[in-house]
């Protein structure tokens, strides 16, 4: 069996720039690459007839295949240092909050080479018991462990001491006082030990041990790691003598006691530099380190009381990092295909189709014009943030609940199956980590199973319906991305007559919303072509393009729920969660906001009285119909999947016209939880009239305007009957009028 996994070093490039594609191929000696412009979805017999346009380019051709490894699992590391090499007597300690103590041996902290049995290690044994381990690298290993497993999700202070003078090895743990009644007592165990703890040349690792060196780059330099710990670590400390119980507890305090300053080799304070990947040593030695594979920061620590629920207010209560054995920020694969974007290549969505034997893998990317240089009147704003947040959504296939709330069985294809054959490619922010905690970071620097012109008609793939429509009506367009909108703001938009969104622009940073708001304030025209847009707040990593943070805070339709006190983004300190809870409901920008979702069936819109308002005459020109969109590729209708409605209380402008409203949705369409103060049993569309999509139009003060479909499924109706239908006609009417420079007048 042949499998291909691949990704690109960037999602957006401009003429003259290069995109490097990295591939790992099993079961073949070579693979082929063909670059093509995507002109529509591969949506089956009901969809439009799509013929992607092959691109003649030197990057097309055959390449030698090889397997490239993925090094998943997060940890923190301090590079080898003479101070570490000189350690003979040792105390290593930390507060821990273990989430999977029963999963097998795990490292907490130490300088330990697992294959060589060399150095010292504080960790958990096969049964989840605290264990100390010392090895001299020649076969002499001494271990000591407590007799009961550490409790799950309970703060403990744990320590290992190596005392050459007394020839003992000791582990200790103390429960941290918490307002609960779990039985816990201090524990301690010692063993005779004459083996040296010398660890020459090894790094000091937290949440992992060394598995030796690799010729290729790994997640950190060339060091392979193993024994990844699941859970939080707070205040790790390292001392060059064997401290007693009092000394360990003293060293675990807020500051290093004066009497221990000289003995302290390292005291890492994770409450500092939270937005970064820096691990700060506050001891005199300044043995700083880094985190690897982006473990979660801004996590409540052992001393968190609830007094502050935002880490910027009291960072000293957020001194924990939550490590996961399935964290992955970058596969760091070597390049295979270099695609140099031709200078005359017009903007669009492209993909490198990699094939070998029966296997195919698509790597999609966007070619944009230079920033600020519009090459067309219309810009399609590709939802790159949302594509990234959904990247490798595995939860859809792992829970029977999907069948329940989708109202139909979930469908996967062979590319989706790769997530289970190669789980190391990582998961999405719709998933939970192996320890049950929510995934709050998403990275594009790994193979993506969801950003391709095939498979589930969702997000990227679904957005290709819109491109096919633009191609069919012959309207030139540029493609721009969320990432560039975040970075360049209004400058990216100001030269376009019309900006169209994708079908599901769900995730936005403040800078993105500010840019869209600014665009409307200078007379821009905005077509929101989907549903459930502008819903969640995100933060971009300060240094790594294509890495995004989501905290699923108090409200919303959520795949997981942020832990108490952990609603603020580590990258920025901003409160995460829904924009509507932060004064920027989608309704203010687009006239509508998320109201319901259902996936078994889609419905239609009924034309409303506002459609006869002369202000909206352009939209319905040539459309006498009362029912709009009772057809479509996506479950048979234009209104559905995720739908939005108008609500003046949330910011829908008072002059907004509700042109059409959907009806007749199925039982699976339930009111979103943020609309439900008291559950009452009449929440689904069959019983609750609040569940509907609104198609709205409104003018903005400088001659601009907004039109919103309020439904993800809408785009799937455009191509119906060879584009001879009222959805295509209405949407084209709106686009043509929006391109027309004649100002819209505020009513």
């Amino acid at each position: 069996m042949t499998t291909i996994l691949a990704y690109a070093d960037r999602f957006t490039a401009r003429p003259g720039e290069t995109i490097a594609i990295k591939a790992s191929v099993e079961g073949a000696d070579t693979f082929d690459c063909h670059i093509m412009r995507l002109t529509g979805p591969e949506a089956g017999p009901l969809g439009p007839k799509t013929a992607h346009e092959p691109l003649t380019h030197p990057a097309n051709g055959s390449y030698p295949a090889r397997v490239q490894a993925i090094h998943a699992g997060s940890f923190a590391v301090v590079a080898p240092h003479p101070l570490l090499d000189r350690l003979s007597a040792v105390t290593v300690q930390a507060f821990i909050w273990a989430t999977t103590p029963a999963k097998g041996r795990q490292a907490i902290a130490g300088c330990w080479s697992e294959p060589e049995g060399h150095g010292f290690l504080l960790g958990l044994d096969e049964l989840g018991r605290l264990e100390g381990r010392v090895g001299d690298g020649t076969g002499g290993i001494v271990t000591v462990r407590l007799d009961t497993p550490v409790p799950e999700r309970r703060w403990l202070l744990v320590a290992l001491t190596v005392d050459p003078a007394a020839a003992t090895l000791t582990v200790r743990q103390w429960p941290v006082a918490e307002p609960r009644f779990d039985p816990e007592v201090p524990r301690e165990a010692s063993a005779a030990c004459t083996v040296s703890a010398k660890s020459t040349g090894l790094p000091f690792l937290l949440a992992a041990w060394s598995e030796g060196e690799d010729a290729r780059l790994t997640a950190w330099r060339h060091t392979r790691t193993g024994g990844h710990f699941n859970g939080k670590i707070d205040r790790p400390r390292l001392a060059n003598r064997a401290l007693g119980a009092a000394g360990i507890r003293a060293l675990a305090g807020d500051t290093i006691p004066p009497e221990l300053v000289a003995d302290t080799v390292g005291a890492w304070d994770f409450a500092r530099d939270i937005p970064t990947e820096i691990v700060r040593d506050v001891s005199a030695n300044r043995l700083g380190g880094v985190t690897v594979n982006l473990p979660a920061r801004a996590m409540t620590g052992h001393n968190w009381t609830g007094e502050a629920t935002a880490w910027p207010e009291k960072p000293e209560h957020y001194g924990a990092i939550h490590f996961h054995d399935d964290d992955l920020v970058d596969c760091v694969w070597e390049d295979d295909v270099i695609f140099e974007v031709p200078g005359d290549l017009s903007s669009g969505i492209f993909c490198a189709r990699l094939t070998a034997n029966e296997a195919t893998f698509d790597v999609a990317f966007v070619v944009s014009p230079p920033v600020g240089q519009a090459r067309a009147k219309v810009a399609f704003l590709a939802s790159s943030a949302t594509y990234t947040v959904y990247l490798n959504n595995r939860a859809r296939f792992t829970s029977p609940m999907t069948h329940l709330y989708h109202g139909r069985m979930t469908v996967m294809d062979p590319v989706d199956e790769l997530m289970f054959h190669h789980p190391a490619i990582g998961i999405s922010t719709y998933d939970r980590h192996a320890d049950g905690s929510g995934v709050c970071y998403a990275s594009r620097h790994r193979p993506a199973t969801n950003i391709r012109p095939s498979g589930r008609l969702w997000n990227f793939h679904c957005d290709l319906f819109i491109l096919h429509w633009l191609e069919t009506i012959g309207e030139p367009y540029d493609v721009i991305t969320d990432d560039d909108l975040h970075t360049h703001g209004l400058d990216l938009l100001r030269n376009y007559s019309v900006v169209l969104t994708g079908t599901h622009p769900e995730y936005d940073s403040r800078d993105m919303l500010d840019a869209l708001d600014g665009y409307l304030r200078i007379g821009g025209r905005f077509m929101y072509m989907g549903g459930n847009g502008f819903y969640w707040r995100i933060a971009y990593h300060p240094d790594r393009p294509g890495v995004i943070e989501v905290r699923r805070a108090e409200g919303g339709v959520r795949a997981w729920i942020a832990e108490p006190g952990e609603a603020h983004h580590s990258f920025t300190g901003e409160h995460g969660g829904l924009w509507r809870r932060q004064g920027r409901a989608p309704n203010a920008l687009a006239g509508v906001g998320f109201i319901s979702q259902g996936f078994d069936d889609c419905s239609y819109y009924r034309r409303m009285a506002d459609a006869d308002d002369p202000r909206a005459a352009f939209a319905f020109e040539g459309i006498p119909d009362t029912i709009i969109g009772d057809f479509g590729v996506l479950q048979g209708g234009a209104a559905g999947l995720e739908i939005d409605s108008a609500d003046p209380k949330l910011g829908t402008p008072p002059h907004a016209l509700i042109l059409a409203r959907s009806e007749n949705h199925s039982n699976t369409y339930e009111l979103v939880p943020e609309e439900v103060a008291i559950p009452h049993g009449a929440l689904n569309a069959v019983q609750n009239e609040q569940v509907h999509a609104d198609m709205v139009f409104f003018e903005t003060p400088e001659g601009g305007a907004v039109w919103s479909s309020g439904s993800i499924a809408y785009a799937g109706s455009l191509s119906w009957n060879g584009y001879d239908n009222n959805v295509a006609r209405l949407t084209t009417n709106v686009l043509k009028r929006f391109i027309d420079p004649a100002s819209f007048a505020m009513p």
Binding site: G44, T398, L404, M409, T410, V411, F420, D600, D601, N664
Partner: protein, 100 residues
């Protein structure tokens, strides 16, 4: 409570006629039971030929192993839902679904 009345032939016929879309409250109750009372594995579909063939597969709750493909294939998702409905009916009522 939490049981399917095997005499409700009307609900079987309602589902067979319209597996997706609005359901009566009693049918929705049956479907909710079928889709939540999962003791071992739950069904999903693998699109083995794009938009032409869907293969029934089973996945165990909570494991990350690939779905186990069966030899049962369908030429529509509606046919697949009907097949699974009958399987779950038999599992939860102890008797064969009264409609084929």
């Amino acid at each position: 409570m939490y049981a399917i009345n095997p005499d409700r032939l009307d609900l079987v016929e309602e589902f067979k006629a319209r597996p997706f879309g609005e359901h009566s409250p009693d049918l929705q109750y049956v479907l909710n039971l079928m889709r939540t009372k999962i003791t071992n594995a739950f069904p999903l579909l693998i699109m083995t030929r794009p938009y032409e063939q869907w293969t029934l597969a089973w996945k165990s709750v909570g494991d990350l192993e690939p779905a186990r493909r069966t030899n049962t294939t369908f030429d529509s998702i509606e046919a697949a839902e009907w097949h699974v409905f009958k399987l779950r009916w038999r599992e939860l009522t102890g008797s064969d679904c009264p409609v084929d």
